[in-house]
């Protein structure tokens, strides 16, 4: 094969070791760059809410009420973490709220009805919770349906199953008390104990919440899997084309929500000894709201694990703060709604201002 006419462009562009920068970007001031990060916005929001209640509700200033607020935040926060990761991965899970109750019911009834060590129930509940996540994820990946539809289906199914199965087995809407069964104390120590810090009674879930948040942050920013979460949420098709296991990532994220539901479910079971089968409805929106306030993009591809921690803290703060301030707790949901809209709008405005070039 002879080449008579040489192609017009033959020489590669000279590698430019001398040129250090293209000189077209200017470093923006640190404060602006920080404000552009959504978790900084929500941190400021959380501080604002805290200051507001410190002023209006003097009872909040007490150490034990602060521990109480943190406890309230942790029960939301533990679930908000996997929900946030799933949201960064581009999906959300409406069944997360009732899945918590499903898990607690499974553990309670398995152990009680079979008269076995509660740990058997705990393990069975874990398997069931992961299976629900697997089902959600598998159906989503197989059918390509939006996660709203798939998880709305599971939400309704679980809501019905929770009530119907509990009634048919126990003859009641609540499960039987399992506090005198084998292994209960061990399990309670893990999921629902508390300890003293400087005379203040702190629930163990607060510790778990912060531990999980630290792990989630590390995974998200420092591991391959975290990279994949951002990628599948940002652009699924591109991720697949460069070899990211999209199916694995999505399904495992749903299973992670299942794990969170199991953990919170176990906490509820071992702190109250019994489970009300009709609960959990509406909680899924609280988790999603905490993640969104925490700066996770509803459409996926952006967010953090630390943001939802502050988001959950804002929720816990408001929920308890209203009580400490002596107001009618019925206002809680309205307050939440205002906070959600406010946080989202402020975030949007701050990010636009800070990222403007």
């Amino acid at each position: 094969m002879t080449r008579q006419a040489e192609p017009a462009v033959t020489s590669p562009p000279a590698p430019g070791p001398g040129k250090e920068s293209d000189g077209r970007t200017r470093q923006r001031p640190l404060a602006l760059r920080l404000l552009a990060r959504p978790e900084v916005g929500v941190f400021l929001g959380a501080v604002a809410v805290l200051i507001f209640f410190l002023i209006t509700a003097p009872a909040v200033r007490d150490g034990s009420s602060m521990a109480n607020i943190l406890y309230q935040s942790s029960t939301i926060g533990i679930m908000a973490l996997p929900v946030a990761l799933l949201m960064i991965g581009g999906e959300f899970d409406l069944s997360a709220g009732v899945a918590v109750i499903t898990s607690a019911l499974t553990a309670s009834m398995t152990a009680y009805q079979l008269s076995m060590n509660v740990w058997v129930g705990v393990i069975v509940a874990l398997i069931v919770s992961l299976a629900i996540g697997l089902f959600n994820g598998w159906l989503l990946v197989k059918t390509g349906l939006p996660s709203f539809l798939v998880t709305l289906g599971t939400f309704l199914i679980l809501q019905g199953v929770n009530l119907a199965v509990t009634k048919s087995i126990t003859g009641n809407v609540a499960t039987d008390d399992i506090s005198d069964m084998d292994g209960f104390d061990q399990a309670k120590a893990l999921f629902a104990s508390s300890f003293e810090v400087g005379g203040v009674n702190v629930k163990i879930t607060v510790v778990w919440w912060l531990v999980f948040a630290a792990i989630a942050t590390w995974v998200l920013l420092r591991t391959k899997y975290g990279n994949w979460i951002f990628a599948v949420g940002g652009n699924k098709d591109s991720s697949r084309a460069v070899g990211v296991p999209v199916t694995f990532t999505k399904i495992s994220l749903f299973m992670l929500v299942g794990f969170g539901a199991w953990f919170v479910g176990m906490h509820q079971l071992f702190s109250f000894n019994t489970v009300q089968s009709g609960e959990g409805v509406g909680q899924e929106l609280i988790y999603i709201a905490a993640a969104v306030i925490g700066g996770c993009l509803l459409t996926g591809g952006a967010g953090s694990a630390i943001g939802p921690v502050f988001g959950a803290f804002m929720f816990g703060m408001v929920q308890q703060g209203i009580v400490y301030a002596g107001w009618n707790p019925d206002w809680f949901k309205a307050f939440l709604g205002v906070m959600l809209l406010g946080a989202v709008l402020i975030n949007l405005w701050v990010q636009r201002t800070a990222t403007r070039r």
């Binding site: 002879t2 192609p7 017009a8 033959t10 920068s21 591991t223 391959k224 990279n227 591109s238 990211v244």
Partner: protein
């Protein structure tokens, strides 16, 4: 799976430096039918190292189908597809990648919100440390990405900026640099200049030349014959799923190429139709006989 040791990075080009005459990728009478629709039929294509093979064709000519077969998204239904002389049938893009065939798609397969360096290594991240604490080797990845990009002549201030903030040409170049770095032997570029301005297109063409200098076989899909002629060594024109022209650079002039691309005889028919419409000056338009360039002939005019 991929650690800094086991990846396909770098070394492959030296290891497998093939003889100049052996085609890396070869299609023999390949075709593809979707049900009863024949999208591609009887296509012969050879891709040699250090050569740019241009595939031209109008919309619907079968260019996309051709890429999809080579990149492993679809399987051919007739003919043969050989890599290094051995018949293959890829079932996933991953298999094609492992064979050294990398595709830079029109949408570039980048995640706009992610930083440049994360995009560069997406799907083949470098890690360090034992399993429970195995983590991304961020420093090394940033350094490598920066080095590789500079090697291709792309200088970026901040690898942390989301890739979505880069210009179309820069993004294209990052995608090409990524494919080159990950040991691609054959680079398929799907209309890389389609959405770009004149200057940006020039930049991309330079990188195509750079990839060729590195010893890669390049398949350059385009419908711009001018761009193709600037860098191409071999030209294949597809029309309605079949090969209309298959000629090396010495056998075809830019003019002929343009005519083939524009659909020669169809244009003449169009001229006839336009002449019926008042207000269109058809005097300057070419006649059918002016447009019949030799099909895969050996007499070079250039």
């Amino acid at each position: 799976m991929t650690t800094e040791k086991t990846g396909t990075h770098g070394a492959i080009l030296q290891d497998k430096a093939p003889e100049k005459d052996a085609a890396i990728v070869e299609l023999r009478g390949a075709g593809k039918s979707y049900g009863n629709i024949r999208a591609l039929h009887g296509v012969d294509l050879k891709v040699f190292p250090s050569q740019v093979t241009c595939v031209l064709g109008d919309n619907g000519a079968g260019k996309s189908t051709l890429i999809k077969i080579i990149s492993g998204l679809h399987q051919h239904t007739e003919g043969e597809f050989l890599v290094d002389g051995a018949p293959v049938r890829f079932s996933t893009p991953r298999e094609a990648l492992d064979a050294g065939i990398a595709t830079v798609y029109q949408d570039l397969a980048v995640v706009p919100l992610m930083p440049v360096w994360r995009n560069f290594f997406l799907g083949s991240e470098m890690t360090k440390g034992p399993w429970p604490i195995r983590r991304l080797d961020i420093e090394k990845m940033k350094k490598t990405a920066d080095h590789e990009l500079r090697e291709m002549g792309i200088v970026l201030d901040d690898l942390e900026q989301p890739i979505g903030t880069l210009s179309g040409g820069q993004r294209q170049c990052v995608a090409i640099a990524r494919a080159v770095y990950f040991g691609a032997r054959v680079l398929i570029l799907d209309e890389p200049t389609a959405a770009l301005g004149v200057k940006q297109s020039g930049v991309v063409l330079k990188y195509i030349a750079a990839a060729r200098e590195k010893g890669l076989g390049v398949i350059f899909i385009t419908h711009n014959p001018h761009h193709a002629y600037m860098v191409g060594d071999h030209f294949s024109v597809l029309r309605l799923g079949t090969m209309e022209l298959n000629a090396s650079r010495s056998e075809v002039s830019l003019e002929e190429l343009t005519n083939h691309m524009a659909g020669g005889t169809e244009l003449a028919a169009l001229k006839h139709e336009l002449s019926q419409v008042r207000g269109v000056d058809v005097e300057e338009l070419p006649e059918e006989e002016d447009l019949t360039a030799p099909v895969a002939s050996t007499e070079g005019k250039s």
